[in-house]
């Protein structure tokens, strides 16, 4: 794992088309009704592990991941993906899990199969992938259930399953466990850890320092639409550079 990563970072791998990452973001701006919600973000996202995005409510975290995922169009600046890929190929290699899972009114497996078919997987391959991902996310028992009768923990597990089923290189997660109980959160985190070790890149918005500690390799701390700091996890937890992050970790309300 680590070898490949290092090779990619150094740009030594000849077949650059094999990866979206690293992602370079230059001076990204997003304005809505004259308000700058994202105000000049520049960063670089490395190819593996989990990158956490943290920050206070309203800091712009959700908008930032949507800009990166392409759900929002930036007012200025750019996201530059590695590998000279077409726009459709770039979006085909990503998926996203939202804070409130949006499932279709059909069975669990029909939800997963829907995503697979929309991503262009053909019939025999689809069935195989469906079995594998249901197994991996521990949803085999729930596969025939209507999505509408699931608990919120189960719903989020299905949403995550759907996001992973399409075999993305990169998964965005916007506070996926924000409204879940500890058991459901642990189940989600287990799946995320497996995904990380399988080589998927995660970019996850989270408010939980504990969760970030368990999952993330580096932390982007967003404050008032800007990057307050982007540091490795150990450094972020022990010696955050920005006053905002220090206050956040200390659990204090930050006053500028």
């Amino acid at each position: 794992m680590l070898d490949i990563t290092a090779a990619e970072i150094d740009g030594k791998l000849a077949d650059a088309k094999s990866s979206l990452l690293p992602l370079r973001v230059d001076d990204l701006v997003y304005e809505l009704n004259g308000v700058r919600i994202i105000d000049g973000v520049t960063l670089r996202v490395e190819p593996t592990g989990c990158t956490a995005i943290m920050g206070y409510n309203g800091a712009g975290k959700s908008v930032l991941v949507r800009l990166l995922h392409g759900l929002l169009t930036p007012s200025a600046g750019s996201c530059r993906w590695a590998g000279n890929l077409s726009a459709s190929e770039i979006s085909r290699r990503q998926s996203m899990v939202f804070q409130v899972p949006v499932l279709l009114r059909r069975s669990v497996e029909a939800n997963i199969d829907y995503a697979l078919s929309k991503r262009g997987f053909k019939a025999p391959e689809r069935a195989r992938k469906l079995e594998a991902i249901l197994h991996e996310t521990d949803l085999l028992k729930l596969r025939k259930r209507p999505a509408s009768v699931l608990s919120s923990g189960e719903r989020q597990r299905v949403a995550l399953c759907r996001a992973l089923a399409v075999e993305p290189e990169l998964v965005f997660l916007d506070e996926p466990t924000a409204s879940l109980d500890p058991a459901a959160t642990a189940a989600i985190e287990q799946i995320l850890l497996r995904a990380i070790s399988a080589g998927r890149k995660l970019i996850m918005v989270s408010q939980s320092v504990g969760q970030v500690q368990r999952l993330a390799r580096d932390v982007i701390f967003v404050h008032r639409g800007r990057i307050a700091e982007h540091t490795p996890i150990e450094e972020f937890l022990t010696t955050p550079r920005s006053a905002a992050a220090r206050a956040f970790i200390a659990g204090e309300l930050f006053e500028e």
């Binding site: 979006s91 990503q94 949006v102 059909r106 929309k118 209507p146 759907r162």
Partner: protein, 235 residues
């Protein structure tokens, strides 16, 4: 109150007696209104869906106009359709004035705005919930529209029922373009109008009860479909 009791009793009597002309009238009512609703749905559903997810100049204005058209007066629609289908009108050569076909056209014009407006509202609401998730999955354009329509399918049953309620209950349009011709274009509502004008208030009320029972039956069928369809979908 005794008027209603009498009307109800005679309504039951009318139905139980299998009065052939009543059966004929009920059959024509259903055929005309269901046809109008089916055609109105085929036209209105895609249009409503398109307006729900489309972004084009004049969209807001179009929504206001379509919503207003839900209140089209049947008699005005009847008059306009009459002027089109009259021998002196542009479509006189079709020779369909005073036929059930003309009645279907008039009712279709009445129900299509209802189908468009309500479909738009339901799909627009669904789109607000699903938009990001579907775009994230790479679902755009027609595929997205089909998914949204599938998602709101049970609400669309209500849309169709609202349209049917409008069609089966209106008299102003069908009496003008159908002419209330005995055995040809006489339906429940025009019969009620006729019996009222003859002073047969009891019979008119009984026919009214039959009409309401008819609407009840259609709604019961729809409710049954709605109740059992989800189970079938997950089987």
């Amino acid at each position: 109150m005794s008027d209603f009791t009498t009307a109800f009793t005679s309504a039951i009597g009318l139905i139980a007696g299998f009065d052939t002309s009543l059966i004929e009238i009920i059959g024509l009512s259903l055929r005309v209104s269901l046809s109008a609703v089916i055609i109105g749905t085929i036209i209105g559903l895609p249009l409503g869906a398109a307006i729900a997810v489309g972004r084009f100049p004049g969209r807001e204005l179009l929504i206001i106009v379509v919503n207003a058209f839900m209140g089209l007066p049947p008699v005005v629609v009847g008059l306009i359709v009459y002027l089109q289908l009259s021998k002196s009108g542009p479509f006189g050569w079709l020779q369909i004035l005073y036929t059930p076909t003309a009645m279907i056209i008039a009712q279709m014009i009445l129900v299509t705005p209802i189908v468009i407006a309500l479909t738009r509202q339901f799909i627009e609401d669904a789109n607000a919930d699903y938009d990001e998730a579907l775009r994230s999955l790479g679902v755009h354009g027609w595929a997205k529209l089909v998914t949204l329509i599938t998602e709101v399918r049970y609400s669309l049953v209500t849309v169709v029922l609202a349209a049917f309620g409008r069609a089966i209950a209106e008299v102003g349009a069908v009496i003008i373009v159908g002419g209330n011709i005995n055995h040809v274009t006489r339906v429940m509502t025009t019969s009620i109008t006729l019996e009222t004008s003859k002073g047969n208030l009891g019979l008119a009320l009984a026919l009214g009860v039959v009409l309401m029972l008819l609407a009840l039956a259609v709604n019961a069928v729809a409710a049954t479909v709605r109740r059992f369809a989800p189970k079938a979908a997950y089987a």
